[in-house]
Symmetry: C2
């Protein structure tokens, strides 16, 4: 079957969006659409421009025999701001306040469209960091990890608090939870990581960073490398943060349980430096 | 700015793929691209045909003043078969066999591209079932639930084994785990569901269906309705299954631990009846 240009454009868009960070050869497209490579190149030119204009991402051309095209999901600065502020507006609602100054976020972590946007925003900050794996701790971090993973096209591994028979042999470490200073355990299936992998740690909430510190210890056990740390919400506190470099979307400044007030500000997404990636 | 047809096609494709099961008015597109509604209609005609030819899904037109277009992700029969058989090929690998006859599936549940395909396959079977919410149990079901949820555009809620402070007030029930016949507890945040919602239950693995039965009891507590049950793998067993109607992608017939053999067959996706949806 011979495809028209208009049909090719629709189908190529779908194919690229479904396969981020994946090298696709011009031959693949040229065979799929029974079209000359020169026509495919022109099509890709149109896609490239439209993707950039709509802040969808970049199409990177890799030349040579093993070359092709790669779609890199990237969100523009405007939209990142919008996502951060819609997160703040949601979190500011006073009925989210739970005893102990905790915030109810479970509904947000169950919303697929919201997660997709959050995931793309975080993936934008790490698009060139050669992340191999995203690691999180059960349970709340899992949807965030997967939302990022889809845009970086890397697997997710989940650290648990307890060992389960369906995980096979595991490696377990003890760590000190940051704020409560309790000794806790983390367990990871032995076959879930290979040594030398570069790992992005993520979670929904970070206070002192004890959980992150625990995951870092696990990385050492597996001879893996820290590729970055990203959280939705970091909380203000007096102690020193255990993790040096992390990315946060929102900062929880203070919680006033009596007057049911939640004080939030932008996280360090734009201020932590070394991150001019959104100026596409 | 005035968009060319070619640019509109690329951007509309992206917009629709990112917003499945969402009604989008022609006015939205016509404003976004500064184009006449007649041009937009022609564009949508091209998208519609291409989506159907590439087994991406259906574009449904809703006419009238409150009308517009809706993208329904649907996978064709061929691709469903392919997804099921690639799952079987993966699961058949003997190094997945764990003591007690369990299968290691954690790597698959961490693979974003695989999950996306699985999610779309399951969403295809429930596209017209008016599902409001997808419910699963922590931990392994979470990525599957989210993969389905994105294609149905509905939220995910996660049932836990233990209550956590960050969940707020919870409802808890006891149930009998199917195979081990132990009494277990399930906990769900009170504000996670509204009464009257239609719920799709999902999990990675089902034997007798005790966990599903537990979730069904939770639905009753919340005055919610069962919209369906979907699992990746069902296991052969002697007792009667506690759930009447469920969908499975793969059936685990038998495990021979001594010879390290895993016997699999297709699940009931195509045979359970009432499901001719993939004949688009």
């Amino acid at each position: 079957m011979k495809w028209k240009r208009s049909e090719r454009l629709v189908d190529m868009t779908r194919h690229l969006l479904e396969n981020p960070h994946t090298l696709i050869s011009l031959t693949f497209f040229s065979n799929r659409y029974s079209a000359a490579k020169s026509s495919i190149s022109e099509d890709l030119g149109i896609l490239k421009e439209t993707f950039e204009e709509s802040s969808t991402g970049r199409l990177v051309t890799i030349s040579g025999a093993a070359g092709g095209i790669k779609y890199i999901p990237l969100v523009g600065r405007e939209e990142i701001k919008e996502v951060i502020h819609s997160l703040m507006n949601e979190l500011r609602k006073s009925d989210r306040l739970l005893p102990g100054g905790y915030l109810y976020m479970t509904d947000l972590l169950g919303n697929p469209r919201f997660l997709d946007r959050i995931g793309k925003v975080i993936a934008t900050a790490f698009f060139d960091k050669e992340i191999d794996v995203i690691m999180t701790v059960a349970t709340k971090g899992i949807p965030i990890a997967h939302a990022i993973a889809r845009h970086l096209n890397v697997p997710v591994i989940v650290v648990r608090r307890d060992s389960k028979v369906t995980e096979g042999p595991t490696v377990s470490i003890n760590y000190v939870s940051g704020s409560a200073r309790r000794i806790q355990t983390m367990v990871l299936s032995k076959r879930s990581m290979q040594s030398g992998q570069k790992v992005l740690l993520t979670d929904d909430f970070m206070k002192v960073g004890g959980t992150m510190q625990g995951m870092k210890s696990l990385l050492e056990e597996f001879n893996c490398e820290l590729g970055g740390v990203a959280v939705l919400v970091e909380a203000e506190h007096l102690e020193e943060v255990l993790v040096d470099d992390y990315l946060s979307l929102v900062k929880l400044r203070a919680v006033d349980e009596k007057h049911r007030k939640i004080e939030l500000e932008e996280g360090n997404y734009f201020t932590r430096g070394g991150n001019e990636l959104w100026n596409m």
